[in-house]
Symmetry: D2
């Protein structure tokens, strides 16, 4: 009367031989989000068969608890031994940025497909080494991908479709911002994210990077020149041993110039009081415009300037129709999905690329290119001559 | 080096003996949503240990496929035998409304805890039998709950907290609507949802019921009197054998009078073109007001009328802070959650009530009460004398 | 070098003989708004030449002050003598509703064109007498108009155009509300607006009347049947001699059935805390929908359901383009106009109708028809049998 | 029975001797807006008695027509003779920017109070001469003011109040943009506004200037350093004699650094397709934040970060209460005012300053300071070294 479920037989996607073994490294915020994606992707999408094998972390007790909670069969503390297991085919790196290069390069050399959280690395040099390793691995059929997960927000995927189809005509300029406020309070404590040696940079690398990736992803143009300013408003914060110096930026501003004669502005702040996780993007083209805010990620604003002037206006597209990217797999129209499913979509696309033997997007090269833009912004910001003083004295008074 | 994950040891919530065995009946829209909740709840919340044992459906092949996909260990086609299994402790009924009474009563009599989707039943008589069965079962420690899942939208749970704390003063009236448009197209085909014998009613029972439950849940008041109108705009739709009569309402309007001298209006439509899944609730009190729209379910509008007039205004609370109901378990602030997690929260609260031996809310009694309101609306709507004709002729002209 | 301005020569609209003499009766809220319209209309629109001759009020000092302030050449206290002046051609009645009938009928009989504020009158009988007088006057070329000024909100005029052009297909139902909060405070004092003998009715006649006029104006359909409920939440308020009984409604709810098989809901409240002057209208048709809120009166929401599903969404049309009704006369695009200009547009259309010898719209007949709808709502509301009790006792328990 | 209106006797504000004689120069867009302010200000506000004497323009017929239409007693073509009339006390300069200096300096020397539209002048040198003339005139009791009219948007005036009261704590950064789209169409024709010699600059001077004035006005801080980029997207446009070169910017971007360790970003565009007149300002402080958009100028967004986290959110204050700046003079709450009344408020404040013998704000000095900021942005933009190239080649590949 009762039939055991046989996923390997009953699901079409699981017919292709031995399931892929997956190991994830890191179980904090990103590890939780990636685990959630692995746990759910096969319930909604047809993907190659895989197994959530091992979760890796440094604290044996904590990682065992996390593995049990997040659906992993085992836990481990030594990522090197996991990388070398025969039953592991995919390494998902959710560890902090300063660990990315060592793990990713080792995993690629061990022939494992690699998904790595952004930023690709904390330094340009590491990022370039990783990219070189990825290129070599790809030649052997080993895939790699960087986790700019917002490319898989359905509304932004739809935005890219519309732009690709020419619905905006020529894009002239983009206005982007990524605003948070978790550092607004000057008493918020010191963390590794506020030290240059562990975090690489502050708002610039952590969140402006997402906005810059989107600008390039959505429009298909590449940043050629950058001008920027960085600012640390709260220069000391309470740490375990008293006040410590904050060595990364609280906020960043950049003006970018791209191929296609396109301009863009980017603003990133972690002290924008009242903004919780607001990545705002506005794209202005000759035939139309788009607007987006991550705090309402199920919506896309679209203005079609080819309609009669009398009836033009920004429309709120609730991106929850079966026609929309990724949405056919989810719920009926109007039943919105959450932030976490950008990762579910990312894992889905990663698995399909592995199955098809194609390069998943975004590649390490794309991640490296974003970091080069960040480096240019930093270089520009360190050059105070970009700021022109406002002449305070009256020329007339002087002349008089 | 590698440690098998031992959920039964490592998770505090799973220490209390044998895991609860869960069976779900139904694997369509609601079955998918409930399965998702069971699959994820333990990854985010501390709940008693349980196992996703059996998924039950009528088509053996299809239910086996669904079980594999949605995380159930087995599938089955005969719900009666599943109900009688010793290793099954919870029955989650996601089958259509006309099957609820038979399954729920049998399950309760078999000593299984029961979670049943709304509406409680298609007829008032069945709902009353179920409620009586639930009362008897409760006396034996067997729990039951009806799935008005929107009570677990964090923003609505916060709304209830604010009202309970007196932040709105005395609530005078509520303006509620549940608007969809999947029947706007007159060529949309006939389904079981459009036949009175299978669906019970149309927009009234399907979606107005949610709004009515919310009105009572949020304010703590009970509907005493109702006046209503029902309307079928598209009276015939294409079925397998040609055009068929639609025998339920496309739209419903009701004015309600509640305890506490409180009024409420309810409007429900499945032909509100452009509205995808918009349950809108506005609550007006002597000291403040609240607004909500399900299409932006992470937000609550709140106006505090005790502030100086100069600075009053509806504020958009992004209900994503650790202080907000259910949110501490999810992601950092501003990372919004999806519609499906109303079910995750529901399962969490159901499991905790079972563990604590308390009545989960909403009870079958509460579900029955909502159906009595629906019945009053239908009774009122069938009485055309509630509509007063507009006198078209001129009294003056007559007198002249 | 300096040339006196000769409006009678230089403005094309002023070539047609003697300017029309205008007298306004009343200088409170509505008198101020109407005066503003008269003072400004010729600066923006080509209208027949007219002069702001006399402002009439009961308090000689106050009305003289108001006349000077609002641009009238003279003031007066006796409306009867003003009506009979040869140099007065237009009477604009801004006095309270209970005075409308007497003044309007006398003015029409004296051969003066009449513009009267809504509501047409406080009683149906008076409204019918006025309508009969208007019909007789019209036969002699004397025009009359009722001031449902919101017909001249550009966004609503655009809405009517779109509906007339068939852009919404067949309208199925309308959801309307007019929400204010100036009576939320139970200590707000007694006024003539809260006594049935002076005000006629409360929220129903004062603001629901606007919503009902719009429903009919926008869709071109007429209300045939009505069901309603009225409620006074604060039954006593402080007056000059202690607490007084409030004898009109604070809030009103109505369900309407119109020609064209169209339904509508109307909600009006003066205790909707936080809503300042929010007339909300949503119109759902087979091919599209419209939304509007008076607090953002320069905007119209429009959803075109004939577009591909992928790109549908409510668009915010900023109704400030030269292509939009009335807008070519004002400012460049995006420079929004205020509430007061609904009256400016009203006066413009009234003057043009007088010039052309056509019936201005809305006519007294249209005003009378709205009042018949209000009367039906009141009649329905007085019949408590429209409310069906919710059966509280269990049928099963009884049967058991 | 009928009493002539005696404004000079009945209005308290008109008691102080001979009315002020006003002349306005220019009758295009700004002349129309200023005339509207003069025609209406005394109907709403208690101001010193004045008369709309002369409207000045170059085309005798057209200016006579405009004078009649806009409420001026006379018209004239020679501004010099008007400036020297004894019955003229106020000169309101609405002519293009390149004429400002000559007229303003002559008027100030003739002892006339001067209101001049922004920008103060097209060149810094002219602006400095004007400022020097204003300083001399002030010493003789002759007042001058520059028309940054948006300081008189009630919502922005309220914003300044809240910031002054410390409700935002220390302001850290401001995000500002002024977006229009009237040049989006590459076929939009050449005008004087697109030539450097007549217009001075493009989006920068025309609209970014408003945003920069607001940043300084609202926060009370002064810009010390600026970095900027300018861009002309459409470099040729059709003129009367074929294609002509556009010599001003279509869009401008600037990062500003102010006193008080405060940063600001400014973006201005006249090719932001779909944005009609959207000046957006967001102000982030340690204790709260404010948001504003000129297309909804009756609203202010305010987030109070001192409230409990659970109930924080941006609130939409409908700035239409008697408690709000300028609003007591207008309509009841919720009855929104239009863009044009920023000029009405400006004239009111200018008249009151003249009456009181105080310096109206903003002064020419303040206008000059804004122009210095604009000049710094232009200087920075002309220095291409502010843009740092993105290194496209791989360092690793090179090294390998």
């Amino acid at each position: 009367m009762s039939t055991p479920a046989h996923p390997s037989e009953s699901t079409p996607s699981r017919r292709s031989g031995r399931p892929l073994g997956v190991a994830a490294i890191g179980y904090a915020f990103m590890g939780k989000a990636h685990s959630n994606a692995w746990r759910n992707v096969a319930s909604f999408f047809d993907v190659p068969a895989f197994e959530q094998k091992v979760l890796v972390g440094r604290d044996a007790t904590a990682v065992a608890e996390a593995a049990a909670r997040y659906g992993w069969a085992e836990s481990a503390t030594d990522w090197r031994s996991v990388i070398n297991r025969d039953d592991i085919h995919i390494i998902d790196i959710c560890a902090p940025g300063w660990m990315h290069a060592e793990i990713a390069i080792a995993a690629l050399e061990a022939g494992k497909h690699v998904l790595v959280e952004k930023p690709l690395a904390n330094t340009l040099a590491e990022a370039e080494l990783m990219t070189a390793a990825a290129a070599k691995a790809r030649a052997r059929g080993v895939q790699s991908m960087i986790g700019f997960n917002y490319r898989r927000v359905p509304a932004l995927a739809l935005a890219r479709e519309l732009i690709s189809e020419g619905r905006l005509g020529t894009v002239r300029h983009v206005r982007a911002a990524y605003l948070q406020d978790w550092l607004s309070d000057a008493q918020a404590p010191m963390t590794w994210r506020l030290r240059k040696e562990t975090a690489g940079s502050g708002a610039l690398g952590d969140i402006a990077s997402h906005a810059i990736d989107q600008i390039q992803f959505l429009t298909g143009q590449a940043v050629m020149e950058a001008s920027g300013t960085l600012k640390t408003f709260v220069t000391q914060r309470p740490g375990d041993q008293g006040m410590e110096n904050v060595t990364v930026d609280d906020a960043a501003w950049a003006t970018l110039w791209l191929t296609g004669d396109m301009g863009a502005s980017v603003e990133a702040s972690r002290v924008a009081t009242g903004q919780k996780n607001s990545m705002q993007i506005e794209i202005y083209g000759t035939k139309g415009s788009l607007t987006f805010d991550l705090e309402n990620l199920n919506e896309l604003g679209f203005l079609d300037a080819t309609l009669p002037s009398r009836e033009q206006g920004f429309r709120r597209i609730l991106v929850n129709e079966p026609e929309h990217p990724y949405l056919a797999a989810w719920w009926p129209q109007g039943h919105i999905i959450g932030w976490e499913h950008t990762f579910t979509h990312q894992v889905r696309d990663f698995l399909l690329a592995i199955k098809d033997g194609t390069q998943p997007s975004p590649s390490f090269e794309e991640g490296l290119q974003v970091q080069r833009v960040l480096a240019s912004v930093e270089e520009s910001a360190s050059n105070r001559s970009v700021l022109t003083p406002v002449h305070a004295k009256s020329l007339v008074a002087e002349g008089a």
